[in-house]
Each structure stands twice: as C-alpha cells, then as structure tokens.
C-alpha cells in the first residue's frame, strides 16, 4: 500500500494576462495544477506557451491576473510584496538557465547570498554555504569567481544557492538549456538526487525531452492549458 502524498502546490483557475499598450495577451487561461510534495515535475511546451510564466507564478515572482495559488497552505497571491519576498526567501529555490550568478562574488559568496536575509552569523552562513557546495560537488571551487568556472560548474553553484536555505520547492527554468549534453546530464543527476534523497519538490521547465524523462511526471503546456500529452 502506497502512502498518499500531501499536495504542496495548488494552482486554481489561474489566468495571466499581459498588456502591451492597448493589446491584451492571454498567456494562461483558467489553468489548474496540483503538485504533490516530493514530486519532480517537468513542464514542456513550445516557446511562448507560458511555461516560464507559470513557473514565475508558482515561485511568487509574478502575480496571476485571476485565480489562486496555494503553496504549503498559503495563498501567495494575497501576500504583500514584502511578505511575498520573505516567503520566497524561506520556501523557494530558483535555478536559472543562464545561472544568474553575481560575477563579482566567489562561488562561496554567491551561495551565501540568500543566507544574508536570515539572522545567521557569518560563521554559520559560511558553514551552510560550504555544505551546499559539497552537496553539488564543488567544495574544491569555493573561492573561484563565476568567470573561472565552466557552465556546468556555474549551474552547480546556482543549484547550491537554490538549496542553501533548505527550501520546500525548487523551481528550475531550463537548467540544462545552456549546457552540453554531459554537463546537462550531471545537472539532471544532481536534481534527481535532490528529489530522491532529500525529498525536494522540483518543477522544471524544459524544451528537452531527454531532460524531461528524468522527471517523475511531465505536463505539456499549450495555448495556456496543461495536458498530459504533447500537442500533435
């Protein structure tokens, strides 16, 4: 008998409309999605289908035009900007396609960045960042600046930064999109390990079927709607 998992993410009847001048662009329309705790979900779809928009909404980086988003029992679309920022700091880890590391900071300091928002001492921040870098296999590169790291290594630093606060949810926007196959596979191995061994709930946007195959479930987004099958 399998244990029923709690739903971590509930997206209910969400619309997202962008305005460009007088034109309204409906990116998502009446979208529903539920993600159980500990799932590794891949979101696929053509460019402009709204994958990143949905990811931004789940991560509290943007707000829906209509509908509700409940994460861990909290209606995040109702939070003030300040509280939403604080919620993101505690519950969300973000991994970007182009890594988005601070070029002026070493790997160690990049990973420490989210911890600046906590009350941790400098020594504690250092220790936590060291552990995160060890998890991603970069404990030997802590003092290196991003420009001296390979793409795969930079993405590992990005993942270390995302997990250093031990967030509930990892949101990855095409994490292997800028990497060669080998480096991409290593990143996917890492994400799978974080999902399997540490129970992280992961939502990954990707164009790559090979990457999506690593997820426990794949959904396809097209014309603002989700389906379990790609559009013909």
């Amino acid at each position: 008998m399998t244990e029923e998992k709690k739903t971590l993410v509930k997206v209910n009847d969400v619309d997202k409309v962008f305005k460009r001048g007088s034109e309204e662009i409906h990116v998502l329309g009446g979208l529903d999605l539920q993600i159980p705790e500990g799932e590794f979900l891949a979101l696929m779809g053509p460019s402009g289908s709204g994958k990143s928009t949905l990811l931004n909404l789940i991560g509290g980086l943007d707000r829906p035009s209509q509908g509700s988003i409940e994460i861990g029992g909290e209606r995040i679309e109702k939070l003030s900007s300040r509280r939403l920022a604080s919620w993101r700091a505690r519950h969300v880890g973000l991994v970007f396609q182009f890594y988005n590391l601070m070029p002026v900071l070493t790997a160690q300091k990049n990973v420490e960045l989210p911890l600046l928002l906590t009350s941790m001492s400098r020594a504690e921040r250092r220790k936590r960042a060291g552990i995160a870098l060890e998890i991603v296999g970069l404990s030997h590169r802590t003092g290196h600046y991003p420009r001296t790291l390979s793409g795969g290594e930079q993405q590992r630093v990005g993942i270390a930064r995302a997990i250093v606060t031990d967030p509930t949810l990892l949101l990855c926007d095409e994490p292997t999109g800028d990497l060669d196959r080998k480096s991409g596979d290593e990143i996917l191995d890492l994400l799978q390990a974080l999902n399997a061994e540490q129970g992280k709930t992961i939502v990954m946007v990707t164009h790559d079927i090979h990457a999506a195959a690593r997820a426990s479930r794949t959904l396809y987004l097209n014309k603002g709607q989700l389906s379990t099958e790609p559009e013909e």
Binding site: T53, N56, G59, L61, D62, S81, R82, A85, S86, R88, A89, R90, L94, F96, N100, M102, P103, V104, L105, K109, L113, P114, L116, L117, R122, R161
Partner: protein, 383 residues
C-alpha cells in the same frame, strides 16, 4: 554590516569607472575644504569682530583721514566707553610681495580695546617704554622668522619721513598671540607717537577710530549720534559696527564668499552629474542581477538600500578623503605665506562638508535606487 561586502564588491565591478568617480568626488571636496579655509581667511575679522565695538571712518572713504582730536569728542558721546585710533601705514618688508597690515597705534589703549591680542606682561612693558618698539602677530613673525630683539626695516609706500626717506625701522619687542583661532595675528603694530613725529605730512591726522560702546543693543543709536556730532564739518564720519567695517574692507577685493561658493557650487553640480551617471549605469547594466536578488528574497527596500549604499560608500570615501586632504593641505599653511589673517578649516565648514557628502550621495543615488527597488522581477529576468 553584512551587506557591506556585497556593496563593496559591486563597486569593484568596473574599477576604472569607480576610481575616476571616486577621484572626481575627492577633488571636489578637497576644493571645497580649501576654498572654505580661504573664505574663512578673508572673513575671519567679521566672525571675531566685537559686538560692542564700532568703527568710525571718514564718510567718503577709508583712505580719507580724520583729525586725531575727534577721539576725545567721540569719548564724550553718551554710550561710548572708549575710543582708539589707527592709521593704515601700507609699507612692505624687503620686497613688494611682503605686504601685510602695519598700524601705528597708542599701545596701552589699543591693547585694552583689543583684549584678544595676547602679549606677555614683559613684552607689554617693553613696548610702552620703547619709542621705536613694535609688536607683531605670531603668524607674521613666523612667516618672516622674526624674533623679539630683531630690528625690522619697513619701506613705506605712503608715509615719507621728514627728510624724505621712505625707510622706517622698528625694534620688535613682542609677539602677540590670538585669544581665538580666528584672531588676526598678521598685524604689525608700532607706536603712534613715534610715527606722528617722524612723518613728513599728515601730523595730527589718523585713519579711523575703534569705539567701545556700553550696550551693543544701542549700537545704531550711538553710531548715529557719532555721525551727527561731526555732521557738516570738513571731516564727516561714518560709524558702523566693526563686523560691517571688516566686511566692507574685505569687499574691496570682491565678494570673496560669493566667488568661492560659486566655484564650489559649479564643481559640485558637475560632480553630482558624474556620480549620478555612474550610479545610473551601475544599475542599468545589472538589472538582471538585481532581479535575481529580488527573486531569492531581497525586498524592494533592501535592493533600494543596496544601491543607495553603493552611492553612500563611494561618496563617503571620496568626499571623506577630499576633506581630509583639504585639512592636511590647510594645516601646511596658507598659499600666500601668511598674508591671509587666519587660515584654517573651520569646524562648521567641515560639518557642512560632511552634510554635503550625505546630500550628494542621496541625490546621486536616489533615482537609480528607486528604479532598482521598483524592478518587476519577471520582466527584469527576461532582459
């Protein structure tokens, strides 16, 4: 403090740009401090002028003389406690560029009128007893390396001696210090009786009077009474507070304060544009990074604070260094080697400099900081 490393690291991003902006700010505040000291030098007499002292001069101009006999008449006017006379000697020491104030005065009366000139009792007595005796202020004595006992030759430019010579010699019997930092210690004072007897013309005439009054609140009435006393005479007077007189004297060269502050304002405006431009670029070129900071949980206010922090750190370091350099340079002495009566960077100007640093940092950084604070994360991440 935990954000300081991040702020500092961002400033190091474009080292050359940061260094050039830093140096611009340093030079602006160095100029501000140095010009403030020069302005102070020209206006120090106004600051230390006695509120209970009036100056009475010829109504037409300071270069017109007044009869010495006016002194006793002035002293009889109600509200007047004492009056002393002075005359502009206008000589030079060794060469024309060694120009400073030389005044023939009545020693005892003069020292009573100006208690801010500090002289030892022995030096006072020596001056009272020595007909050719003179005293010099500390700055002018230091400038020329004079010591008590030296014989000081002064070449007159106005006052010829009986017999036609322009050369005057004085025995230095004392060196006075100032009671306050701004007290003029560049004067050379000698005895009027020696001067009056030896000069070829103008016997019995003096340049102006300094008058001590009993109540500074009645200064306007007493000044009017003095002028009324000599109205319709061949030597009509103009009495005014000592501060106004000193201001008028300084204004003969021009409104030094206005000129200095105009230069500083122009420099500051330019530097503000430079610093503002630096901050605007700093934000524009890392929109994406600022969006990432917000995405990982930095609030709008925290991002605004980080950008403003950069502006403050850069301006405080540059401006602070500028003020320190100005102070050091001013401490090394005035550029005229002692012609400026008092040359120092006043505390009030130092504090004004610190306030200006804060203001410059705020004005240069506030717009880019607001822009950074208002960044929409999803939009900025797409750029």
């Amino acid at each position: 403090m935990k954000y300081l490393y991040l702020i500092w690291s961002n400033l190091k991003r474009k080292k050359m740009r940061t260094i050039l902006t830093f140096l611009s700010i340093t030079v602006a505040f160095l100029l501000f401090g140095y010009l403030a000291a020069i302005k102070q030098g020209f206006s120090q007499g106004i600051d230390v002028a006695g509120a209970d002292r009036l100056v009475v001069r010829h109504k037409i101009s300071i270069i017109q003389f007044l009869p010495q006999s006016y002194e006793s008449r002035i002293e009889q006017i109600e509200g007047v406690e004492d009056a002393v006379h002075q005359t502009w000697f206008g000589g030079v020491y060794q060469k024309p560029s060694n120009f400073f104030a030389q005044l023939p005065v009545e020693p005892e009366e003069y020292l009573e009128m100006f208690p801010e000139f500090i002289l030892s009792e022995d030096e006072k007595q020596a001056w009272f007893k020595t007909r050719t005796g003179a005293i010099a202020g500390r700055r002018i004595a230091d400038r020329f390396g004079w010591k008590v006992g030296d014989r000081i030759p002064i070449e007159a430019t106005i006052w010829r001696r009986k017999g036609g010579s322009l050369s005057w010699e004085f025995d230095l019997v004392g060196i006075y210090d100032g009671a306050e930092k701004g007290t003029d210690t560049t004067q050379f004072l000698f005895r009027h009786d020696y001067f009056d007897e030896a000069r070829a013309f103008g016997e019995g005439q003096v340049g102006w009077f300094t008058v001590r009054i009993s109540d500074p609140d009645n200064a306007a009435e007493i000044a009017a009474a003095i002028d009324a006393e000599f109205a319709n005479s061949p030597y009509e007077t103009k009495a005014e507070p000592e501060g106004a007189f000193v201001q008028g004297f300084a204004n003969q060269i021009g409104d030094i304060g206005f000129i200095m502050m105009s230069i500083v304002a122009a420099v500051f405006f330019t530097i503000l544009l430079v610093a503002g431009n630096t901050m605007a670029y700093a934000v524009r070129e890392r929109t994406n990074e600022l969006a990432v900071l917000k995405a990982i949980g930095f609030t709008d206010r925290a991002v605004l604070g980080l950008v403003l922090g950069e502006s403050f750190l850069l301006t405080c370091l540059g401006g602070g260094l500028g003020l320190v350099l100005a102070w050091l340079l001013v401490s090394m002495g005035d550029p005229t080697n002692g012609s400026i009566p008092a040359f120092f960077l006043p505390t009030k100007d130092l504090l004004l400099g610190v306030a200006l640093i804060g203001l410059m940092a705020l004005v240069a950084g506030i717009l880019p900081a607001l822009q950074a604070g208002r960044l929409h994360i999803a939009d900025a991440l797409r750029r």
